[in-house]
């Protein structure tokens, strides 16, 4: 196992280094557009890393992670719009003012994502199998419709904020600087995932996935373990949503849609389930495909569908699985 772990570690480093190299290279070549694409890949990768904790390590097939992505986005949009209007977000039971400081916004986005994951997870985890998939999908859809009907924050049209939020000492409008912020957060999330999955908790989580009856027989409660993983996962995805909102300076119900949930799942699968950097590779490949295939045909999503179908039917280890010639990871 040790040797394989090393090979995994090398692959992980290579994937992350490639992403950074692309962004730096594009920046030096004066290609801001590609830097923004790399930023998008980092953010989607972060969302995938979050989902991977629940899906890959915990075996929790959530088709509702757009909920946390969208909540992170809306928290960011709402705080930013109140910061620019100067109106408080709420006045009861105490006054909360808007904010355009990323360092202030991120914790709120993560907290909101975590609280939503706690509520959705507590209910959804009472079920398993196909029920779990449907229930997570349905609760995300509930938030989607709620956002559409919530006219105060744009309803169906979404909510624009014209100035990207700020980070002390950096110019967040410079593409490469915003990329750096996203890449550092992605790296932190990767380290966090690596540490957590190696810990006692990670042991219990992976045991509950593979053989939940056995986990119970050694005194572990799978429900509590899974719910914790689901909440951590929701927090990371909430952070990714916040970054995505800032990238576009716009949030809309589309961030909460089932299609978004499917995409986050695709990031994880394209790279390889349960691999640390799989979602990063997956997100980067997705963006690349969107860009390349999208240039060939307006109907690029059909090609993506065919590719995805091929991977599911013939290469269940994902694209990294093809490289390492191994099946689905532990």
């Amino acid at each position: 196992m040790g040797e394989l772990l090393n090979r995994d570690a090398i692959i992980n480093l290579v994937i992350f280094a490639l992403l950074v190299a692309v962004a730096l290279g594009a920046h030096l070549a004066g290609d801001g557009f590609t830097v923004t694409l790399a930023t998008k890949a980092a953010i989607f990768g972060l969302a995938g890393v979050g989902l991977n904790l629940a899906l890959g390590y915990g075996g929790l097939i959530s088709f509702g992670h757009a909920a946390f992505f969208g909540i992170g986005g809306y928290v960011t949009g709402i705080l930013a719009s109140h910061a620019s209007s100067g109106m408080p977000v709420v006045t009861l039971p105490f006054t909360i003012m808007g904010s355009n400081e990323m360092l202030g916004i991120w914790p709120v986005a993560m907290l909101a994502g975590g609280v939503a994951a706690l509520a959705i997870g507590a209910l959804s985890l009472r079920t398993s199998g196909v029920y779990f998939i449907m229930v997570t999908l349905a609760f995300a859809q509930m938030l989607y419709y709620f956002a559409i009907s919530w006219s105060r924050y744009g309803g169906e049209d979404g909510l624009s904020f014209y100035v990207r939020n700020t980070f002390p000492g950096l110019n967040t409008f410079a593409p490469i600087q915003y990329f750096a912020i996203c890449a550092v957060l992605l790296a932190l999330a990767l380290v966090f995932t690596a540490v957590v999955t190696q810990s006692r908790f990670g042991l219990a989580l992976q045991a509950a996935r593979q053989n939940s009856q056995r986990a119970v027989a050694v005194g572990i409660r799978p429900y509590a373990i899974r719910l914790t993983a689901f909440v951590l996962s929701g927090m990371i995805v909430g952070l990714a949503g916040s970054l995505y909102a800032d990238l576009n300076r716009f949030v809309s119900p589309a961030m909460l849609s089932w299609h978004m949930s499917g995409e986050i799942m695709v990031f994880v699968i394209l790279g390889g389930v349960g691999r640390l950097c799989g979602p990063v590779a997956g997100a980067a490949i997705y963006i690349l495909l969107e860009h390349v295939l999208g240039g060939i045909s307006d109907y690029w999503q059909a090609l993506l569908g065919l590719l995805l179908l091929g991977i599911v039917l013939f290469a269940p280890g994902g694209l990294i699985g093809i490289v390492t010639r191994r099946g689905r990871h532990a």
Partner: protein
């Protein structure tokens, strides 16, 4: 945890009843497991042995009756809580975590027994509070050189031993072993028999087993379960001599 008095039963089952619709799977079953003993539970297929085990470990709830473990009523505890009290179970079909190594499997049991699984930062493999006891129990179960092998790659007999190691890691106060001999070869069975006779020094064993040679060789007492009822409990000799048992169960052998 109150320390039980000498010879007071570790596990006390009183009047357990479980019905699935019209089928009464467990019918007023009472059973004791005393310190130091191997108590075998035998009976034909469909007698309700698995249902009884599941009620003892807390996987299903009985309709009535009560279970005391070391003097404490455990009827309200879930399966995980009972395991943490030291009620160690092995499964009819080998049940381990396939992708984990032997060491990780046993570490999982150590962590589960400690009740402290919500630790997020320290790598489990460098946590000596986990690895040291785990390695000790792996050796106890006779798997010393195999601790870095993935559980899925173990032989059937080795997987049985891994289960024993995991049971030991719970610092058990009682073992519930569900057909540990099933599918073992002659040699493996002999090895396991000697391991079981050592296990009783750790804690008493409630042994569900089909292999009559093993039961007669190991058990101090035997209970016979037929159609959900205990029709007899006694020493090996008493059970062998019991006419009802001979008729309804051992009939084909006697």
């Amino acid at each position: 945890m109150p320390e039980p008095k000498l010879n007071e039963p570790i596990l006390e089952i009183r009047g357990l009843r479980k019905a699935f619709g019209a089928l009464v799977a467990t019918d007023d079953v009472s059973l004791d497991l005393r310190p130091g003993e191997i108590h075998a539970l035998i009976g034909p297929n469909g007698a309700g042995k698995s249902t009884l085990i599941k009620q003892i470990v807390g996987e299903i709830r009985p309709n009535s009756g009560s279970i005391r473990f070391e003097g404490q009523v455990i009827d309200g505890l879930d399966a995980a809580a009972r395991a943490r009290l030291g009620l160690a179970r092995s499964f009819q079909v080998s049940s381990v975590i396939p992708d984990f190594t032997v060491l990780q499997n046993v570490m999982l049991a150590v962590a589960g027994a400690s009740g402290a699984v919500f630790r997020f930062h320290r790598p489990a493999l460098s946590d000596r509070k986990l690895t040291e006891p785990a390695l000790f129990h792996i050796e106890q179960a006779g798997l010393a050189d195999r601790h870095l092998v993935q559980a899925a790659k173990l032989s059937h007999g080795e997987r049985r031993k891994l289960e024993i190691a995991m049971a030991l890691a719970l610092r058990p106060r009682a073992f519930l072993l569900d057909e540990p001999m099933a599918g073992m070869g002659l040699e493996g069975g002999r090895q396991l028999t000697s391991i079981l006779s050592e296990l009783r020094n750790e804690a008493p064993i409630l042994l569900v087993e089909h292999d009559m040679d093993a039961v007669f060789a190991l058990a101090d007492r035997i209970s016979v379960l037929v159609y959900g009822r205990i029709i007899a409990t006694g020493s090996v000799a008493e059970i062998r001599a019991n006419p009802e048992v001979r008729r309804s169960y051992l009939g084909e052998d006697a």
